[in-house]
């Protein structure tokens, strides 16, 4: 078991013939992910990835022909919200949008359509999700950092996640699923919703949460954890203790505005919920052990 992506994942790649889409799809295939279809309007009927994957003009065609149930989107920003909506309307259950730089108001619409259709949208501006035990890698998280195991990892960041996961793998701690939820202000799925999925996943025995400044998603996650995850070993890391106020720290969502969204607030909220917060990602394995994780 795992969350979002796993053995039952039949992956569709939207934008499979683009540079990014092709490169990362190749990595996913090598990892063992079952990629059943690609979509690039105008290239329907061809085959991608050395002939291994059929390409369709529309998501509806791809779903009808291959039974795809998950999609990863590498479409450039101007077309990405439309790609999300196309996937949602075609009945795709899990949609992972890697694309960076999508206008926030476009995402409001796409998120709402995904919700209306009952799809789970991860991202945008996220590295995706990997379930090492199921060899399912959807997105751009490097395959090499993983080890199968029982810790669910959820993060707003990309390379910082890799850092944390690598530290866990180095310490012998494997992962059930690693999910990057994205660094934009408007994202399809927030910490709390992922925590709920981990909570319901029998394979996930412990959870690592990696947050950063901006918004209040970590505080909401802390409230959820305090209520529902008291028995689950957890550890967290928050980036941006030294970030100045009023400046976007790279991610569109990483900004302290009007004095709210500081790292200090988030750390305080997590600690109040009984979650230890690491001073460095390398401390996460130790904190997990100390919080009772034996995996």
């Amino acid at each position: 078991m795992s969350i979002l992506v796993g053995r039952e994942t039949r992956l569709l790649v939207q934008g499979i013939t683009g540079r990014e889409g092709e490169f990362h799809s190749r990595q996913s295939l090598e990892y063992g992910t079952r990629i059943v279809a690609g979509v690039t309007p105008g290239k329907g009927g061809r085959r991608a990835l050395d002939g291994r994957v059929p390409v369709f003009d529309t998501v509806a065609d791809a779903v009808a022909a291959t039974g795809a149930n998950a999609s990863v989107i590498y479409v450039p920003a101007p077309g990405a919200p439309d790609a999300v909506m196309e996937a949602a309307e075609a009945g795709i259950a899990t949609i992972v949008c890697i694309t960076e730089g999508i206008p926030a108001l476009d995402m409001l619409t796409a998120v709402e359509v995904a919700r209306d259709r009952g799809a789970t949208l991860i991202g945008p501006n996220c590295p995706g999700a990997t379930s090492p035990g199921s060899q399912a890698k959807v997105g751009i998280i490097p395959a090499s950092i993983h080890r199968p195991g029982g810790v669910g990892v959820v993060s707003r960041s990309g390379t910082l996640t890799y850092e944390a996961v690598q530290a866990m793998t180095d310490a012998g701690i494997g992962q059930s699923t690693c999910v990057g939820i994205g660094g934009d202000p408007i994202i399809g799925t927030t910490f709390t919703e992922i925590l709920r999925l981990f909570h319901d996943d029998p394979e996930t025995e412990a959870i690592v949460l990696i947050g950063e400044i901006g918004g209040a998603a970590e505080e909401e996650a802390a409230a959820f954890a305090a209520e529902h995850l008291r028995g689950t070993p957890m550890a967290a890391f928050i980036a941006g203790r030294t970030a100045p106020s009023g400046r976007r720290m790279g991610h569109a969502g990483a900004i302290i505005s009007g004095g709210s969204g500081t790292a200090a607030d988030k750390i305080a909220a997590l600690e109040a919920a009984g979650i230890r917060v690491a001073g460095s990602p390398t401390e996460l394995p130790r904190l997990l052990r100390e919080s009772g994780y034996r995996g």
Binding site: A77, P78, E100, G101, I102, P103, A104, L105, D106, L108, V111, E112, P127, I140, I141, P142, S144, I145, S155, R156, S157, G158, T159, L160, T161, Y162, E163, Q166, G183, D184, P185, I186, T190, I210, E212, I213, G215, A216, A217, E220, F237, A239, G240, R241, T242, A243, P244, R247, M249, G250, H251, A252, G253, A254, G258, A263, G279, S280, P281, T282
Partner: protein
């Protein structure tokens, strides 16, 4: 991207919102001339407001009234050139000073938790909304707009009655609708009118003096991700207020924010870049910057990033931290070697590269005799030690 009050007011005006006329002035003489025009049109007093993107200009003395052209010129001379939170005032806005009956707050924000545009209104206007949120949160009325439909008139009416603006309900509905329309049409993250004021004596269409609801101040923050489809808004960027290095970084596609410390940082990924700064601080140092070279950076972008860091004279040491994913470690190493060969001043550097092609990177760096570190914690500690004048490490 923040834009100046005057630009924000232009955008509101373009959506038909009631914004009293103003003029921009860049010299005391221009302030005087503008003031004279307002006095000639019947104004009793004018207000002169510093145009800066930082908050708190009122407390800093950047907003003043004047009752005569002489006084306006003097006030203009006092404000122009003033420093507010490190920003030099180069422009002021001149307008008739309104006779305010009552001040309200009205704002539209992009709310992350609900994924909605949320409209907020309060009868406590004229003070910072964050202050109201702290001291009297019940005074702020919020409503979420439907992502497809925007603000509906019935919603705006509810808000008008909630804050006690029922007597101006039609105008309020129009203004609130215009705020959300401005937000949607311009891809703004925030559109704020504070104060939204009931003013007396503002001239109506027929010159009559009646109570009117007007936008006395305006604040708009634009979505950086959407600027490419709004070239007219990109042109509102105030380069006067930006660090020239920030401007250069943006043109290179590098996320760079200048800070006050002595450890220059070069990292791939925003979260990891913040973490690197945090670890520098934790090791007892101060980061000189936030710098994210972005995903898949090639050697030339790495070299450009190095130039940006070195342009800061306070930098005493450089910490490079790369977790290769899309970014290839060997590309970064090539960029670093290239950059060092050209760099104008000698600044010690600690490099940590892991992930994709890290072995090749390590070989290149070893051959070029770079100081390297295995872990992020170690890299931070070493950089701080170097900057503090400690050893360059045995390998140097």
């Amino acid at each position: 991207m923040k834009i100046q009050e005057a630009d924000a007011k232009s955008l509101l005006l373009a959506h038909g919102l009631p914004v009293p006329p103003w003029e921009l002035a860049r010299s005391p003489a221009e302030v005087r001339a503008a003031a004279e025009r307002f006095f000639a049109a019947g104004a009793a007093r004018v207000v002169v407001k510093a145009q800066v993107l930082v908050g708190g200009r009122g407390k800093a003395g950047g907003v003043k009234l004047a009752g005569s052209a002489d006084e306006a010129e003097a006030v203009g001379a006092a404000i122009l050139g003033m420093e507010i939170k490190g920003i030099t005032v180069r422009k002021v806005l001149v307008a008739e000073a309104a006779e305010i009956v009552r001040e309200y707050y009205l704002g539209a924000i992009l709310d992350r938790a609900s994924r909605r545009i949320v409209v907020m209104a309060s009868a406590e206007g004229g003070v910072e909304i964050e202050e109201v949120a702290r001291t009297n949160p019940g005074a702020i009325h919020r409503l979420a707009t439907h992502p497809f439909l925007g603000l509906q008139p019935w919603q705006a009416r509810q808000l008008a009655y909630a804050v006690g603006l029922g007597g101006h309900v039609r105008d309020f509905v129009r203004i609130a609708g215009g705020l959300v329309a401005t937000m949607r049409d311009r891809d703004a993250d925030l559109v704020e009118v504070n104060p939204l004021a009931v003013v007396r004596g503002a001239p109506g269409p027929a010159g009559q003096a009646t109570d009117q609801l007007v936008c006395l101040d305006a604040k708009i923050t634009l979505d950086d991700s959407a600027l490419s489809r709004h070239p007219d808004l990109e042109a509102m960027r105030d380069l006067d207020e930006e660090d020239p290095v920030d401007v250069e970084a943006r043109s290179l596609g590098i996320n760079y924010i200048h800070l006050d410390g002595s450890i220059g940082c070069m990292v791939n990924g925003a979260g990891l870049a913040m973490t690197t700064m945090d670890l520098v601080k934790r090791a007892g140092g101060e980061p000189a910057n936030f710098l994210d070279i972005g995903g898949g950076a090639k050697a030339e972008r790495v070299a450009a990033a190095m130039r940006l860091i070195l342009a800061d004279p306070k930098v005493q040491a450089i910490l490079v931290n790369i977790f290769g994913g899309i970014t290839r470690g060997d590309e970064v190493a090539h960029g670093l070697i290239e950059a060092r060969s050209r760099q104008s001043r000698e600044v010690p550097m600690v490099v940590r590269i892991v992930g994709t092609n890290a072995e090749e990177a390590a070989r290149l760096l070893r051959e070029a005799r770079f100081e390297t570190a295995a872990s992020l914690d170690e890299a931070a500690a070493t950089a701080v030690a170097i900057a503090a004048g400690g050893a360059m490490g045995g390998a140097a």
